[in-house]
Amino acid sequence: MNTNGDNSSQITPVIQVSDLKVRYGDKSALNGISFDVHKNEILGIIGPAQSGKTTLLKVINRTLELTSGTTVEGSVKLDGVDISTINDVYGLRRRIGMVLPLPVGLPLSIYDNVAFAPRTGGIRAKSELDEIVERCLQQAALWDEVKDRLDTLGTKLSGGQQQRLTIARALSHQPEILCLDEFSIAVDPVTTMRIEDVLDTLRSEMTILLVTNLVQQAKRLANRTAFILNGDLIEIDTTEVIFSDNPTNQATYDYVNGNFG
């Protein structure tokens, strides 16, 4: 398995996953996967349903702990520190932005949705919050549509708008890592393209993990792509290699070309 698709020597791994095994009760979700995520790259993660993509993201921000009956073995290191040894789990989660597959508007106004994380992080000044809210909504390509009604409930927006709201929310605490879990499910293609443009520009500021069911999306955006199948990491390499005619593994070729899955 090639874990170092880009051979330039000054690449620093932000996340190091080594031999990660996750079980829900008796059912195994991830059977020992290892890979690195490099700084300021977009890592596309593709694979069919039930292959453990979402579980992987949940391990990284430690929300898997909220589900009872799960066991996690192996280690995930963030900037060289094993995340399971971090005591301030809330601080850890604030370093990682998370966008869930279906848009989940918290039952708050649009403004409060975006200002929620900065507030829990201790920012109280109204001017500062205003600034963050505007910046994040603009980054998520939502500002123009909602700038006149920031006080309406976030849940009153349309599905696509709500999804962009969750992206704005995930950016609001200035995360080092942004995890997107199939963000485009509820978003129309035009908006998807706009968000993809946003992600493209965010690449210079943060590291992005992009879990997606649209293999073409990974092809468009990702620097490197990982293919996960039934809890095993089949292959991780630069996107060009994964989507070329001769990736290392035949299953990868079949999956990205739509021959199965």
Binding site: T63, G91, R94, I96
Partner: protein, 261 residues
């Protein structure tokens, strides 16, 4: 767990059966005839008893449900024990609780003795004998209170747990992912969404208790005396309260049909 639940059931109802078979109707009759005059103070004391005890029971039930649901894992034995007991006690028809208080609590409180004693001395006196009975023996007050607690609390626990479970998991997950602590998630997101259902459940529990009281008093008084007065006013109070609360509960359920977004 089920066997413990069955044992509890046995422990509660075997004495009930014993006392029921030994109780003579004449005992009950004397007490009902004894409480004929001065309806208003008794009405107020009933109201006071009912409101304070139900409030305490619901508060206790809601707190208990929050603790069980939010802090204890599903596999915890305390949680399993409490849940099996709750299932048991909320399944008992509420009329049986009325029998419970008469058969278990009344004989032990000495209320009958007090009534009999006062009857033998001042049989034709108009002074409220029930007041003597209640004031002379506060344990009767506590017995009635305890029955209300036993009736209301399991229903309050059950309703609250269901309300908490109805809050969609993604809402919790996205709040946690933003770095909110458990307390913040609970107070800012879960409680606002769950509170209508908690209130509706509390109303339903109280309505149930009132209906049981009304039913029992109704049977009690129509079975043994034709005299109007304190009994019938209590009956009206309890029945009216039960109706009002069940209407309120269905209003709440209609007004907030679902908390899912």
């Amino acid at each position: 767990m089920q066997s413990i639940a069955l044992l509890t059931l046995g422990a509660v109802f075997i004495p009930v059966w014993n006392v029921l078979t030994k109780t003579h109707l004449s005992d009950v009759q004397t007490s009902s005839i004894a409480r004929v005059s001065d309806p208003l103070p008794n009405l107020l004391s009933d109201l006071y008893l009912f409101l304070s005890i139900s409030f305490l029971a619901i508060l206790l039930g809601v707190t208990c449900a929050f603790y069980l649901e939010e802090w204890l894992p599903q596999t915890n034995w305390i949680r399993r024990l409490v849940e099996s007991q709750v299932a048991l006690f909320s399944g008992i028809p509420s009329l049986l609780y009325g029998l419970l208080v008469v058969t278990i609590c009344l004989p032990y409180t000495g209320a009958f003795k007090a009534i009999e004693a006062s009857l033998s001395v001042e049989n034709l006196d108009v002074t409220p004998l029930s007041a003597t009975a209640f004031q002379g023996d506060t344990t009767l007050f506590y017995a009635a209170g305890l029955t209300f607690v036993l009736l209301v609390m399991p229903r309050a626990i059950k309703a609250t747990q269901e309300a908490l479970r109805s809050v969609p998991m993604p809402i919790r997950e996205s709040a946690y992912a933003l770095g909110a602590s458990q307390w913040q998630v609970l107070m800012k997101h879960v409680v606002p969404l769950a509170i209508p259902r908690v209130l509706a459940g509390g109303c339903r529990a109280m309505s149930c208790a009132l209906a049981a009281a009304a039913l029992f008093i109704g049977i009690y008084i129509w079975g043994h005396t034709t005299q109007s007065g304190q009994m019938s006013s209590s009956f009206a109070l309890f029945l009216g309260g039960a109706l009002l609360l069940s209407i309120l509960s269905s209003f709440l359920a209609e007004r907030y049909p679902s908390v899912s977004m």
